[in-house]
């Protein structure tokens, strides 16, 4: 077998020149991706390339999950079934009431022009895995462009808001969780209708509610639901429950910490809701530079104007 003789003389640019070239290329890419989000097509095509390998990688854990499911005891299934039946009964009363209210609202809307602010339908999706990025809180779900998922759609589970779709691939998409740093959701206090913005703290299982005056009427155990004024989240979805209120008159704002209502880290199935209003402002994805309320302020202005 004939092999090429080893090339003793090095050809091409020197390692240092290559390093300079690739460093500049990487920095340009990062700026284009972070500042201008100009690389979604590149990301999409590369993700199609990586998709089969990723599918292959989740096969073992999925198989283990299936086998465990198969051998899970009957007792556990019966208990789960019982719990679910109780929950259905509990919720059916509320659902009937909601149906009535919705019919009333539709009658009212028919009299005044404007679109329904409540979401119709939704797409069920399965959570594939947690995005392997230690700096952010995201999960990857098994529905993408093919299922009509679009960037900005809110995602909920049985208990409340999980997050928002921030990146859509062909077969999968990424959901940024509400606990992600600077991921903000416009909320309303159920008890007194006080409006606020819930901002992810970047820690698991906690959400901050900044910029609330010390005098604001907020207590431990209060629940926040989406207010719907952003035109992205339909109103009335449970977001979080207040766990600590720290009012120190030395500061202008109270320090309010809430616990997300949805099982943000440990759900398997989620529901993707359509955006109620067309042309709503797209969310700030991976928005480390976004100021809470900046983009939403504009959306709020439009919303109020249309009402």
């Amino acid at each position: 077998m004939i092999r090429e003789p080893p090339s003793f003389f090095h050809r091409g640019p020197s390692p240092l020149a290559r390093l300079t070239f690739f460093t500049i290329a990487a920095i340009v890419l990062m700026i284009a991706d972070h500042r201008f989000r100009a690389l979604e097509t590149v990301r999409l095509s590369l993700s199609v390339l990586a998709h089969p390998i990723q599918e292959l990688a989740v096969v073992p854990s999925n198989a283990v999950g299936r086998v465990t499911d198969y051998f899970s005891s009957q007792e556990r299934l019966l208990r789960e079934n019982q719990e679910l039946k109780v929950r259905v009964l509990e919720q059916s009363a509320a659902a009937q009431e909601a149906r009535l209210l919705r019919a009333e609202q539709q009658h009212l809307l028919a009299m005044s022009p404007g679109k329904s602010r409540y979401a119709d339908g939704g797409t069920l999706a399965e959570v594939l895995y947690t995005a392997r990025n230690p700096f952010t809180r995201k999960v990857v779900i098994d529905k993408g462009l093919q299922a009509g998922v679009a960037s900005g759609m809110p995602v909920i589970d049985g208990e409340g808001v999980v997050g928002q779709v921030t990146n859509v691939g062909t077969f999968t998409s990424e959901v940024t969780l509400v606990t992600e740093k600077d991921q903000s959701v416009p909320v309303m206090l159920v008890r007194n209708g006080l409006r606020a913005i819930a901002v992810g703290s970047g820690k698991d299982g906690s959400i901050d509610v900044p910029f609330m005056p010390v005098s604001a009427d907020i207590q431990n155990g209060d629940t926040f639901v989406t207010s719907g004024i952003d035109g992205t989240y339909p109103p009335g979805l449970l977001v979080a429950q207040v766990t600590s209120v720290e009012k120190n008159t030395a500061y202008v704002f109270a320090k309010i910490v809430a616990k997300p209502a949805a099982g943000v880290q440990n759900h398997r199935y989620v529901m993707i809701l359509p955006i109620p209003q067309p042309g709503a402002a797209p969310p700030e994805t991976r928005a480390q530079e976004s100021r809470p309320g900046k983009a939403r302020g504009g959306a709020r202005g439009r919303r109020d104007a249309t009402r």
């Binding site: 390692p15 290559r18 460093t23 990487a26 920095i27 590369l46 390998i53 700096f135 995201k138």
Partner: protein, 176 residues
């Protein structure tokens, strides 16, 4: 018959080049390990399998694997880990450059000393990524993040055994 005792660098020149298939499938395997559904602290401490295989081939096959491949693989990892596009690319290119610079030096050592050298490179890659993310406003993810480069470097031994010693031994047995 055993070959004459050559110095490691000289032996490197005379060594048969590794097959393209071996290089490709080792990188594919490393990528597969990297995209297993890691989460939580495991994710933070996850060894960077792609980086260690990349460094291995940079040092053992400098004519086939270099900064270009490192850049492309970095982009692929960025996309699959849903990170800012280009940060793994930058980290890998810098680590591979370091490997190219100290390549001859590394080749003259045995695996334990090589591991220490590689640890320097993996720490450089991790620090590049950490500083980029801190610069962009992320929080420090936790001390487990600094365990990852150590584990990555500790993968050097198994990787060397798997990709160097085993094929060389098989070839020798085939030749005799």
């Amino acid at each position: 018959m055993r070959p004459a005792d050559l110095t490691p660098v000289a032996r490197d020149v005379l060594k048969l080049p590794a097959g393209v298939g071996l290089i490709f499938f080792s990188l594919l395997g490393a990528f597969l390990l990297q995209v297993l559904p890691w989460s939580g602290t495991w994710l933070l401490a996850r060894p960077d399998f792609v980086l260690v295989v990349l460094l291995f081939w940079t040092i053992h096959e400098p004519r086939s694997i270099g900064q270009g491949i490192a850049f492309a693989l970095g982009l692929l990892v960025d996309v699959s880990d849903s990170m800012l596009l280009g940060q793994h690319a930058l980290a890998y290119v810098i680590a591979v450059f370091g490997a190219q610079v100290i390549r001859v030096r590394i080749m003259s050592f045995h695996v334990p000393e090589q591991t220490l050298h590689v640890m320097g490179l993996t720490f450089a890659a991790s620090l590049v990524m950490l500083s980029l993310n801190l610069l962009l406003g992320a929080d420090f993810p936790g001390l487990a993040f600094l365990v990852s480069p150590v584990l990555t470097a500790l993968c050097w031994g198994p990787v060397s055994w798997l990709l160097y010693s085993a094929p060389v031994r098989r070839r020798r047995e085939g030749a005799s």
